[in-house]
Symmetry: C3
């Protein structure tokens, strides 16, 4: 179960603990991701080269591995970082961008499952493809509906012993035994690149901070989706288009108040 | 010939067909390029690694290859993608950023001409350098005037059987037998990085969408320049500087109306 | 000594001479760095591949090498560029992001000192780590205070015969025999990624432009910090959060007037 009060607790925990999130992410969204982490109160560090990614992941508060533009250097760095995080007990998030038809990222995503991500975050197509029950979407689009991916999410949750978050009109955050649903949000978030990618990074911050308050990872991820949706709603109400939406969204992440979280429908 | 009505048709076609544009582009502008594509109604996917770029280009609606920061990985990915697009009949745009004095991009740009780009887009210096009739500018500056590059553009159009678009105070869109001129635009666009680079990506979307409406590629590229200039004019009228110009420009691409295109002078 | 009048002279010099700054920088901040250079009146060019970085650095007005995400390709390109700049007498800035615990960037930063950077810019942790008198901070955070890094800065200034700029609440710009202090600025600048990284690039532009007016490098770097702080103050007074701060900061760099520099406390 997730409540607005828990979401508020988790958001405050991020701001109080300033989790250091090491990111291996794609070239399109590095800037937006770092700024989203800073805005929400975390500290980003993009350490994505072989020889540095592993040691840094082991001392970071959390790790994000996003497979959006996985160069050979990043692929090997991702292996080292995932292994280091796993061995050091550092929570980590896997964002399997566009897995399915594209060979290198698909093979790598499957390989990384062995290092037990704490959270897998993607759209329905990606979750289905990673679970091996479908062939994925076209790029980062979400061609499948969230509900169609629930079985795949549960299968992944069992296999990797992790939380699986599916983004869609109503997000589903899934464990082996539970499904939390977070509504709200903004259509505009789909017209800005990196909305989903930055969510993965912010999820890593919430999981790290949540653990300091005794929250379960499932609750922390749901709390993150709630805060993210609330920020998106505020920004969409102020923006004239996707260009002005992006900076307003970062402003909202920065100054989001507990009361604003209550607008987000849960179930 | 190009008319404002045709430009409006092409813009609507992009919004209706949501062309999927695979991009191999430089690290400075990936985010702005993806956001420009999303804003105008297309779908971006940055697939720029060896082994994935080729297969993805062959199923995309269109392809952009921009040589701004061409790592060895990107150079090989560009070869694979250009070949795949050529073989699959997928339209593709070559943006030969700063070719001339810099060895790797210059050699690669010439090599890629064999795969018959549908459109070559650059400033006058770059077009002259690629045609082999000059030595290029300093970085991405446009040291030469558009008119001085017309012969070079025609030579390239003949050699690669393509459309050549030259950006400048008044843009020229050139085929072997025709020259269309698109004025308007905003000086501010030259104070934001990626203005030209994103134009190349958006051109790819217009060519793909235009073909679904029976437009010729020359018309589609001119239509794209018209829409781009109109969006830039609106944004410049609202912005206090280049920082606020960029998000306002994306807003304008998003909500541009047919009537606004009529402000752009054509010949 | 530095005065507000000198800072104004240096700012005008940048706008008049449009220095071409070649940048080898990290994937998180390439866009913001290029836009900051454009806004202040310089011309950016990100030439960071082996075989091109060296020749380009030797003809550029100035060079920035930032070690934020140093891939093997960038590391070799940095060596070639630093050597070329040194041999051609082109001023260059080294930004040793997160040196200390991370092996590749730390080894490279020390190696690059042989090519005598004109300016080394970092936070206190980085300066201390590079001087070999401490072990660095966590990522790009500034865990040490500026004053604690003064000895390290002087040691580096002597070793590399350069200016060392330490960013903090009050920045210190240090030569072997002098310390200039620049206050002001905005807390918000620490909530946006790339604030420090772009400062390094803009410093390169100021040093190049300053030399055309007979300013010493120490004065030019201090002038740059003054202009940067003044722009940050204006933007912070207008922004609702870090998201809107970033574009407003670029606007401020673009239209900054001499009178605004006088608000920045010096000593």
């Amino acid at each position: 179960m997730i409540t607005h009060a828990t979401a508020s607790t988790a958001l405050n925990a991020v701001r109080e603990t300033t989790p250091l999130v090491s990111c291996i992410t794609n070239s399109v969204v590095t800037n937006f991701t770092a700024n989203a982490l800073l805005a929400v109160g975390a500290a980003p560090a993009m350490v994505d080269i072989v020889g540095e990614a592993g040691p840094f992941a082991s001392i970071a508060s959390a790790l994000l591995i996003n497979l959006g533009t996985p160069t050979p250097e990043q692929r090997e760095a991702a292996r080292q970082a995932a292994r280091a995080a796993h061995d050091a007990g550092v929570p980590w998030v896997l964002d399997p961008v566009a897995v399915g038809a594209l060979v290198h990222r698909t093979a790598l995503a499957h390989e990384l499952l062995d290092f037990k991500p704490t959270v897998i975050r993607g759209n329905a197509s990606e979750i289905i493809a990673l679970a091996g029950t479908g062939i994925g979407g076209r790029g980062v689009d979400a061609a499948d509906e969230v509900d169609a991916a629930l079985d795949a999410a549960r299968a992944l949750a069992q296999k990797a012993e992790c939380v699986v978050a599916i983004s869609g009109a109503v997000d589903a955050i899934v464990s082996v035994s539970e499904i939390l649903r977070v509504g709200g949000g903004a259509e505009m978030l789909t017209r800005v690149t990196g909305g989903g990618c930055a969510l993965g990074a912010v999820s890593a911050a919430f999981v790290s901070a949540g653990r300091t308050k005794g929250l379960g990872d499932l609750e922390s991820v749901a709390a993150c989706h709630i805060a993210y949706s609330a920020a998106a709603e505020r920004a969409e109400s102020q923006a004239a288009g996707p260009g002005t939406f992006a900076p307003l969204f970062l402003d909202a992440l920065y100054s989001l108040e507990g009361a604003e979280l209550k607008r987000i429908p849960l179930s």
